[in-house]
Symmetry: C2
Subunit: 345 residues, 2 copies
Amino acid sequence: MAEITIKDIAKQCGVGISTVSRALNNHPDINPETRKRILEVIEETGFIPNNSARNLKRTDARCIAVLVKGITNPFFSNMIRIIEEETQRNKYALVLRHVEAQEDEIDVALELEKEKRLRGIVFLGGTFDHSEEKINKLKVPFIFSTVGIPSTECIDVSKIIFSNIAVDDRLESKRMTDYLLDLGHRKIALITERSELPIGRLRTEGYRKAYDERGLSVPEELICYVQEDIDHYSMENGYLTAKKLLASGREVTAIYAVSDSLAIGACRAVLEAGKRIPEDISVAGYDGIEMGEYYNPKLTTIKQPVEEIAKKTIRLLLDVIAERREHQQIVFPAQLIERESTGPC
Amino acid sequence: MAEITIKDIAKQCGVGISTVSRALNNHPDINPETRKRILEVIEETGFIPNNSARNLKRTDARCIAVLVKGITNPFFSNMIRIIEEETQRNKYALVLRHVEAQEDEIDVALELEKEKRLRGIVFLGGTFDHSEEKINKLKVPFIFSTVGIPSTECIDVSKIIFSNIAVDDRLESKRMTDYLLDLGHRKIALITERSELPIGRLRTEGYRKAYDERGLSVPEELICYVQEDIDHYSMENGYLTAKKLLASGREVTAIYAVSDSLAIGACRAVLEAGKRIPEDISVAGYDGIEMGEYYNPKLTTIKQPVEEIAKKTIRLLLDVIAERREHQQIVFPAQLIERESTGPC
């Protein structure tokens, strides 16, 4: 049997070669029905598209690594999905690597870099506190996404060798605290990470700043740190931390947790203590995960534009790899979403 | 400067070479303090461990692909994390590939297989309904994990060229329906996928079987199918499907959704309709995701032993790759967890 060509497929389907090509390349400009039919014919005939084979050889040579700190946090699963889709559309393979809380992500990246086909790295979550020297060791383009960066003021722009995309954690966290203060709350408990870790630190700074600006003193005894030995941003950790706080007998009228997962865990602890949300205690989160919309009560939160951040992250990285664009520092605005879990003091 | 060796590091840290090696290989038998100190010295000296370089070359040559259908389902994120950890520990790279609901995962796998360093494939979720001919095209060892398989009776054991690990979806779904029938419910709405898709089909069969065995007729008008055009197992889909059901005015005393995400969405719809859970309507799910424990009310569910399944999946695959073991068909038992969202009719 003569080898089947793309022309044969096009003829058999009654379409042009370019349509077959679009079907093979998952191009958006094709009728899904047509695409399905073409793929069926390809399947029947056993045709191996040259083009696809060529792309695959290229795939063979190129991959993007995504290093995630806090992989079980639902905040990241949506981001990973979007990054994966976009990576795939651009014929790169995606290598996923989970970074432990105590691991240094740059070390992990340096290891991965010895992989010769690696073309770029995305860091999701984690720390920005790396020495310039260490960061300079990385040879492929990389991008920090949703990593708390102290502030772009500290960065010498002339030396920027990476991109960074995130919301302004300090500002957004202050916004949430201001909102609770405006509702009349003064005894606002904060559930956060130990201050060495940047996301926790920045969000804690925003909380303090809101009190400071009004000349109110920060209720230090209500700043609660999550357990170090389990996932920092898990529902379990929010639950355990809030439970301890409530058991302490300290007066509290609102709980603000620096992630929605923590806030949902905290809600569970409040409900188990026989308190109503928000009548007895208001609860607010941060991130804007889907769960918050379905929780009972619906969760007030700071919604990060996660889809936009993820898309921008991967597109910018691909542009930098292709030398179509320079590295950039991008700050996205977040949004305070008021739902059922917060109310007046 | 002479090249720094592992001996120099050991000497400088005052430990043996094997301790340095353990630190480098993330071996569990090492004091975390010691490990930290060794890694600091390594960092300072800029020492590049040969051993690690060698491992990395090996990593360069081997990877495992994970193909996930329904990547945003929180049920999978935990599994991916465990598979990733275990893969890494065994010096393989993990390639993650998201498979669209309408994509054929075997086609995707056949594409990935042209990647010469691929050593094995894990299919998470999705379909088992592939022709033998097609499955035979795959050359590397592969394993279906948490994929609904009609039943091992249908499989000719002499021809098994893959492994399969899952719970018995039909049996476990019948268990949940029996539980609700035992509580006195007869008007049990089912939220499921269209019957061509195996997980939905098997769980629907279990539901029907429970009614059948008691000589009760299945309330066909209460079998609700999720929307095809959005994620099948999302909270949003559960919410929209339950909302439509409740708006229809059909009498219903319990809702059983074939995943926890769907069930949580359904809870939101029930609450918005001004009904109480479980006093007016009981709601039950399937999977046992962490969220169910923190939801208000806590969700009654069928808990799949997800960690055991994930560990067994990757270990078995690595064993098959290393030819230490033959392919196996493994059925794990699940567990009905009774929580607050269900009660007597």
